[in-house]
């Protein structure tokens, strides 16, 4: 079977304080090139790996080593400057706690908006509306017709996760989902992720929580300074992490 995620020499370059340096001409005619590498840095570079369908991958690394950037590249909301990434199949991303909600819409409207943009039909959403809201918990259920502005971050992540977990997409991307949310919600998250993985989905998880990582992931990628230094089991990646960060 062809790998479901394939990264080849992946790299992306950010520029600090870019706005002050920007010239339209440079942007169109030649990007990079002549200009000295002033304030440029590569959050990720030379990253190559493949993920087979059904694999569970934990991405491990210290803060600012490009974990979230990698997830965004897989999700297709960033475009690499070097190399390429090929993803075969739809992606269900939970990249931000807010899950892309618009503050001025109610929970109900956001559910239809975000669910719809993720590719769910409105008929499907209507049918599963009660399920989704119930999954998100009693608090959200009560506030479903008030604007998301008034939601706590816990409520937002609950609703976001409830939507994402209803997507049929084969690839799940999660960035620190369980960091907010109380114990009860975490339990629900765990059983849902277990269920989704049992269906044979592919998971890429970014987390600092070792328990989560060892629980869900068999494979580990350890990122250091924007480079992929360990690609092995999750235990090996965690060892590398501990070697770098004394406990």
């Amino acid at each position: 079977m062809a790998p479901i995620i394939e990264a080849e020499g992946l790299g992306i370059r950010f520029v600090r304080n870019r706005r002050r340096q920007l010239r339209l001409r440079e942007l169109f005619i030649h990007r990079g090139g002549r200009r000295a590498a002033s304030g440029q840095f590569w959050p990720l570079r030379d990253v190559s790996f493949t993920v087979e369908p059904g694999e569970t991958v934990g991405v491990i690394g210290r803060n600012g080593t490009g974990k979230s950037t990698l997830l965004r590249l897989i999700a297709g909301v960033l475009i690499p400057d070097e190399g390429r990434i090929r993803v075969r199949g739809d992606v269900a991303p939970l990249l931000e706690l807010s899950a892309g909600f618009s503050n001025d819409l109610t929970g109900r409207e956001n559910l239809y908006l975000v669910g719809g943009l993720h590719g769910l039909s409105s008929a499907y959403l209507k049918r599963h509306f009660d399920d989704i809201v119930e999954f998100a918990g009693e608090q959200v259920q009560r506030a479903i017709d008030t604007s998301v502005r008034h939601y706590s971050s816990g409520m937002k992540v609950r609703l976001g996760f409830a939507i994402i977990s209803h997507l049929p997409h084969p690839i799940l991307l999660m960035d620190e989902v369980t960091a907010v949310g109380d114990a009860e919600f975490r339990k629900k998250c765990y059983s849902t992720i277990d269920r989704l993985l049992a269906e044979g989905r592919t998971l890429v998880l970014v987390s600092h929580n070792e328990k989560d990582l060892t629980r869900f992931c068999r494979r580990g990628l350890y990122l250091d300074g924007g480079r992929l230094t360990v690609d092995g089991t999750v235990a090996e990646a965690l060892d590398a992490y501990h070697a770098a960060v004394p406990r």
Partner: protein, 275 residues
């Protein structure tokens, strides 16, 4: 480009959702709701009618030709189409900056955001068309206009205008992320365009004026000139643009679309990093 268009087509549902969302947000907090999209252009029409149809009526009528006896219709036709243009351009400019949350979490072709703004404003324009036809029906009943085949200028005008607006909105939305000044600048540009386009006055006024030749040529290079001539030609066949103007307009609009699409693709990586 074809691959991009195909991807866009497969996400037309996203486009629909975004447009619905925009309209819902826009009207949920106002009592008059949809009527605002009528009151504003009609109010503007009344103002211009007062100035040019009443105060300067002598001058105006001399140049209007076929439209001399139905200047309000001439005005309303132009202003309805103008509202679509101006609101689409100003709203498309912040289509990406204003929705960065969605864009950075959702993998949909980014083009849907600016195109959605153009579509949303088109929906308002379409919703106003019955009013336009009602006004025209009154003048037709009095024998002031004689609509016929010229009505076909409407779909043509809409098509060309949509092409131009989509192209410009792609360009403006992407550039605005990298240089927020564009947003402010656009307010001025839109005001200039309003007077640099035959919306409230007939094109013949410019053509017969004493302006130097090169100014007239430059004036007609603006694709909006031909588009608004097409709009006016719905009721006044004499206003139908000549071959040269029509060719300039269509070519200019297509160029805007291709350039906008290309620029958007080109700027997309930088835009996504910036958001």
């Amino acid at each position: 480009m074809t691959a991009g268009v195909a991807a866009l087509w497969s996400h037309r549902n996203s486009l629909r959702i975004l447009v619905k969302r925009d309209l819902a947000v826009k009207y949920q907090q106002s009592v008059l709701g949809y009527f605002w999209s009528l009151i504003e252009p009609l109010g503007m029409g009344a103002i211009y009618f007062f100035v040019f149809g009443v105060l300067y009526s002598g001058d105006t009528e001399r140049h209007l030709g076929q439209a001399a006896e139905s200047y309000p219709l001439f005005l309303v036709t132009g202003i309805f189409a103008w509202m679509w243009t101006s609101s689409a351009l100003s709203e498309a400019t912040n289509a990406l900056t204003g929705q960065s949350r969605l864009i950075t979490t959702m993998n949909v072709p980014r083009q849907v955001f600016p195109i959605g703004r153009v579509t949303g404003r088109f929906a308002e324009y379409a919703a106003g068309l019955p009013i336009l036809f009602a006004v025209a029906a009154v003048y037709a009943a009095h024998g002031k206009i004689h609509p016929g085949w010229s009505l076909l200028a409407l779909p043509l005008a809409v098509l060309v205008q949509a092409t131009l607006l989509v192209g410009l909105s792609l360009l403006l939305s992407a550039v605005n992320v990298l240089m927020r000044d564009v947003e402010r600048f656009m307010r001025l540009i839109i005001r200039v365009l309003f007077y640099a386009t035959p919306i409230i006055y007939p094109l013949s006024l410019v053509r017969e004026s004493a302006l130097p030749g090169w100014v007239k040529v430059a004036y007609e290079l603006n694709p909006l000139v031909g588009i608004f001539q097409l709009q006016h030609a719905i009721w006044y066949p004499d206003e139908f643009p000549d071959a040269r103007l029509l060719a300039t307009t269509v070519a200019g609009s297509l160029l805007a679309l291709v350039a906008g699409w290309w620029a958007f693709r080109r700027l997309e990586p930088a835009v996504l990093k910036e958001l």
